[in-house]
Symmetry: C2
Subunit: 493 residues, 2 copies
């Protein structure tokens, strides 16, 4: 199967699309720009959700649910917010169909809504409207709410997982008594995201601040985590926003402080989406198929018996089931593939395509010799090892593979952060792929001009502690005007 | 707080609404007919989802995700299906807003969709369209897919959880090679629902078959589980449908069988929703607030220190934290409420309102005497018991309370199944509240006439093995025409 797939070198975009389809993660549905997420893809997403949801709860957040539809008047309450989303909104105008006297079904013109509704592209407006009723005094703060939801942004050009009209995400929306506390929350959730991406997805990220141009519509400050794909393009993997008092103002959300003084509440919002699936696929996979980090692989170990006729199957399967049980007892997700209608070679290719981290295979001779074949998906190595002790070996391999994938991605990422101090070097660096760390004069005009000339955008101003200077005077690579720090450019998804 | 609540005897509907609001489960949002599910309510729903999702997976199902929007032409493909849902559809007609030159934001008339889209009221059409691509041969069957999703039905009269325009649910959609296998699946999932409702929600249900009038739009047979609320009204708590080949025909889904013959696939669908929250509340709760079965209570045990000034707090809290840790180690969900800004009496009322199954309270004298006060929410009893052994006592109480709630609800339900053999008895029995088991002549005309006269509907034809005869000749209570069996009537939500 994998043979017919486009390689990364041939056409990276096509490779990605083929891989998503062939490995059974997702496909386009009949609805323009929307996906069917297939069971295998959804199982990976469920794994991500589980880990994140646990972290959100450990950090004091609770889940809740708010409506899908937003009345147009609500949506318009925060001026920057509506400006940012108005151009990509699905609008509900009617609430009934009826039979057409001339045949077929039509929208009933008598069932027109008095006020149109928008399918939520994000839920700040509805949640802040609710918060007005939930928050009276400092005792009600902080309010730390998360919602797992589907949202819709009517994108014209879509790509599976990376950009779809409807997508799944979580959106945290918190309210605080002070600016400092809200800012600390926005930063904390950025760290939760970064730790998840690095620790669970094995995808290294750079934490930074967005420029005003790239800021979320309605935010005072937007923090971002940026990953680097194997084609040298950056991907924004999640954002966390300090909203100041913008939504509190728009929805009149105030609280009585300890001194009995009434004040506006401070807010944050933060979200990650099924877009992370795109990053997971693009960072690790190869020309043979998916490569999944063990922590997110729906099946971590597959055991394949090499049967010659059904006669020898009994003891072999018994042995493999024994190993599988022992692995499951250690908490691993394990499958024994005893389907005798498929050849071992077909199965090997299938599990490579699907990115199962470890494959164990055993034939009659192995059974006699007390050996087993162990294959690692990430390195595509295989070796015959003693069957005794295989359980501990495989359990240990889970961490080894997880770490190795992260290290490989980190090495690639680190070797693709270029510095450029003049325009020629800047363009050359961009063409090599990866991030370019360069001086910029701080104006939106220059930012836009660079984007027009090169298709590169400012991904972020990296935060401290990541080995990139946050203060350094220099000259803008485009205008030569003074610059107080370097920023991180890249071509991006 | 509980004092100001309407009682069940005063006004059951108002009691229910007050309770949902005051206990912090949910509220109406600013969007007509839609809810904000608040964190406490959502935590209960998450508990339900966890148990059901595990059961679905244990019975071989996998989760996937399909789009929110359905093109109108798809929706119309199955004639009965569109007929059943057309009158309550939210319709998306445009995909952009724009600034009104006269101020404000308006729908952009240039962004009209070529084909209108419906917000899914259920996903048979989209999923069967996908299945056409997923199913080629008998090897691809059975296909056992579930989706957790939000759906929308534009209801005119809404009630929190029981009937809202948008609601959360799961919808299983399976495809099979034979009619018998599909029928067995539909029945199996009905049993999974019934076991969940009785075993986890502590709500007894009657399993039955819907009449043709009440059948799901597009199904050949609809199975139902029916509960009885404390006001004597029935509630349909979940349904499972045998779809025959209806959707396979509409979407041309065929497979090659083992003999190489092409045939249409057989289907089922089955769903339960946030409506179950309504049943959970209405079956167990009382005039003081919620009563939650331990298996679904977000907090199963609350520990309240009775502190006189801060001095004595140290040893008391230490003791309670020790008990809490021991309970948590046994897998219980436990909270120690050490908030010293609130009086114990206020806390007691609050946790009664919220339905926490067990409350433990300890004061300075208890600490000296080695005693603790143990209160059961379901019976509203309290007693002072030795603090030694309290952990085992409370662990044991979880099952005791769970069983006791079920038994109480079962006794109520069983004492509210009346038999009636003539019209006068039938009307009198309906007025007593509960189910009436009576003969019906099998026609939709009579069914409708009974509904018009009494507001009672046929809830189901009970399945075998529930102590209700499934065959017994008699005379219809309305028309006197011959009847082959009794059916179950009730006024219902």
């Amino acid at each position: 199967m994998a043979k017919s797939m486009t390689t990364r070198a041939d056409d990276y975009a096509q490779w990605y699309n083929d891989l998503v389809l062939k490995s059974g993660l997702a496909e386009y549905s009949a609805v323009r720009g929307c996906m069917n997420i297939k069971p295998y893809g959804f199982a990976i997403w469920e794994g991500m959700k589980d880990v994140l949801d646990r972290r959100f709860k450990e950090t004091g957040h609770v889940n809740a649910s708010f409506p899908l539809l937003i009345p147009k008047s609500f949506f318009s309450r925060e001026a920057d917010h509506v400006e940012g989303f108005a151009k990509e909104c699905a609008v509900v105008t009617h609430y009934r169909l009826k039979n057409d006297p001339e045949g077929g079904i039509v929208v009933d013109p008598d069932a027109k809504l008095e006020e149109e509704m928008i399918i939520r592209p994000t839920s700040e407006t509805l949640m802040w409207d609710a918060y007005k009723g939930w928050i009276q005094s400092y005792r009600d703060l902080p309010l730390l709410i998360n919602q797992w939801a589907n949202v819709m942004r009517w994108e014209m050009r879509t790509r599976l997982f990376l950009r779809t009209a409807e997508f799944h995400w979580q959106e945290g929306h918190t309210a605080h008594a002070t600016s400092a506390e809200a800012m600390a929350e926005a930063r904390k959730m950025l760290d939760v995201y970064a730790e998840f991406m690095e620790g669970t997805m094995a995808v290294p990220v750079i934490r930074g601040i967005k420029t005003e141009t790239e800021r979320f519509a309605g935010a005072v400050e937007t923090f971002t985590v940026e990953g680097l794909m194997q084609d040298g393009k950056a991907l924004q993997m999640g954002t966390s926003h300090f909203l100041g008092q913008n939504f509190a103002k728009a929805f009149d959300v105030t609280f009585l402080d300890k001194e009995g003084k009434r004040d506006l509440v401070w807010g944050t919002s933060w979200g990650v989406s099924t877009r992370m699936m795109g990053a997971l696929i693009m960072v690790h996979s190869d020309d043979e198929g998916l490569v999944l980090p063990p922590k997110l692989a729906p099946t971590q170990v597959v055991l394949v018996p090499i049967m010659k006729g059904k006669d020898s199957a009994g003891p072999l399967l018994e042995k493999l089931e024994g190993i599988a049980s022992a692995l499951r007892a250690k908490g691993l997700r394990v499958k024994v593939d005893d389907d005798d209608t498929k050849r071992p070679g077909w199965k090997f290719a299938e599990y490579e395509l699907r990115g199962v981290p470890v494959r164990l295979a055993m034939g009659g001779r192995d059974l006699e010799n007390g050996t087993i074949e162990l294959a690692r998906r990430d390195l595509r190595t295989k070796e015959t090892v003693p069957a005794d002790g295989i359980v501990d070996t495989v359990v240990g391999l889970m961490d080894t593979i997880q770490d190795s994938l992260f290290q490989k991605a980190l090495d690639y990422r680190n070797s693709h952060i270029h510095r450029a101090d003049n325009w020629a070097d800047f363009e050359a660096a961009l063409d090599k792929g990866g991030f370019v760390f360069a001086h910029w004069d701080g104006t939106a005009k220059t930012e836009n001009e660079i984007k027009t000339k090169t298709k590169a955008t400012i991904r972020c101003l990296p935060l401290e502690g990541q080995g990139m200077e946050t203060e350094e005077s220099g000259a803008c690579i485009l205008t030569g005007n003074p610059s107080a720090r370097r920023v991180l450019f890249a071509r991006a998804y």
